[in-house]
Amino acid sequence: MLESFIVPLLAATVQSGTPILYATLGEILTEKGGVLNLGVEGMMSMAAFAAFFVTMTTGNPWFGFIAGGIAGVFMAALHGLVCITCLGNQVVSGLALTILGVGLCNFLGTPYIGTATEGFDKFSFPVLSAIPYIGDIFFRQDALVYVSYLIPVLFMFFINRTSLGLAITAVGEKPAAAAAVGLKAVRLRWIALLGGGFLIGLGGSYLSLAYTHLWANGLSGGRGWIAVALVIFAFWRPGRAVFGAYLFGGVMAFQLRLQAVGTHIPSSLLLMLPYSLTILVLIFSAMRGRSGNAPAHLGINIEPEG
């Protein structure tokens, strides 16, 4: 049971959770600076395509991985142009970004559907993969999963221990006060938004470079929306985001495995699990009043002085 079911399940959990983890951390960074970005789904789609395309043309998946991040930055810049520069509505702009990203990547990607590329294959991490169980679960993955283990740690250090991270948090909480002590509020928002866009883009890269090695429309498959919901579940904390991403990854992997074992539970109910969980999580967070953890100025634009 342990070796034939639970260990493979947990290994699959880590893989399913990884793209969501990148995207959730990206959205947390974005929101820490005070910008609500509902365009994650579209950003991941565009990033997945950019990653695929650059890998196909250069033959180097690491270039593709970074290209996905850059695509995320470009998409985030569009959002910033509307919301930070032109003071447009953040919700509307984010939704538009999703529609744009999903549509554009389908349009650009149509000639390449089913085209396979280089990508990241699983390999056993030296030494660590020999640890019983833990090695099988965490250290027989692809390179992008290993990278994803570092990101939450770096993220926590950045947001809590560096002056830039603290300044971004201050701008998300009280931009006026931040500006009063001489912080450049608008510039900090841009940094958080573009940095977050880069991480969200990396999540998209994961889909076309590691999850599958080929291009297909609709690769994102709703994972961007799950990431947006997970930010609330995580109370804007990176540690909880890791837990949340793996929880969702686990539920996705679990329902397929339960079917493979042979169960009498209707598959429709099992397939609903990740989405039911999303709703439960939102209700639970609201009941505990923890949405009060949100940056106080989340979604509110910074009006220019005078």
Partner: protein, 358 residues
Amino acid sequence: MRKVLLMVAVAAMSVMLASVAFAGAKKDKVKVGFVYISPVGDEGYSYAQDQGRKAIDALPWVETSFVESVAEGPDSERVVLNFARKGYDMVIGTSFGYMDPMVKVSKKFPKTAFMHCSGFKTTPNMSNYFGRMYQARYLTGIVAGMMTKSNVIGYVAAFPIPEVIRGINAFTLGVRSVNPEATVRVVWTKTWYDPALEKDAAISLLDMKADVITQHQDSPGPQEAAQERGKYSIAYNSDMSKMAPKSHLTAAIWNWEPVFKNAVEQLRDGVWQGNESLWWGMDQGVVDIAPYGSMVPQNVKDKVAEAKKAIVEGNNAIFVGPLKDQNGKEMVPAGKSMTDPELLGMMWFVEGVIGNTK
């Protein structure tokens, strides 16, 4: 009273109109418009339909055009209507959900011929067509049954509807005809095309010791999973050997050319009819299995060739009693065959399938 009379008259007229058979004159040139659910791409369902289109487009008197990625529902009605308005002689819609929109448009354009794939509604100028894919599934089942070592075969399934269930059952009957020990495990994804999810589903089956994977969806996700694990895979819709050359044993494939060719020839000769349901099989070449991968040994090929001959000659209807369901209950008694309506409504798994139909 006058109003009532008027209504009766209108009703009578519409009945008369509806009963008029499709009156086609002989034509020198036939223009056909195709509507596809997904991009034509490199592989899969729409690709297979488009191969059929290309085959008839090569005829000097046929002109074709197509619209891809057309969503079911209102979008498809607009596209079908547009073809009819532009004076196309025939509109072919290839997805189940185009059925009602096509019925609607066919009534407005009684001089245009409509062909709908996989549905059940017809009108005087609309017929439907599909193929007996279960025959090809049965043959791929024989391949799987002979190639498996673990006696566990994984089936990544789309939606629990009769078409898919019939395919799983025929496949399983093929497997068990050569290997009564083997079982077929089913995982539903409730998708037609989601490469990541379908790949995950295949991995979950591989983790359950499956060493041959087959699928119903369009994406090569399951093929990729099998190849990564060094196991075997059997594709569907079209040959996917390009995606997974090391694992691809064969595929259950469509060949729509005979259906389309027959339709345009009838249209040219002025003898095409609406209200028909074509359900052609391997004998007409509509379904077949793809060329084998190099790992398939000769004895497997011989066994399949033998079974194919029996199917083509009408000596193996596949769903022939005694058939038991997965709980061992007898569903079809010895000596009886399932009828077409029974096959079209099949919602239970045969013995040897592990999974549930909900």
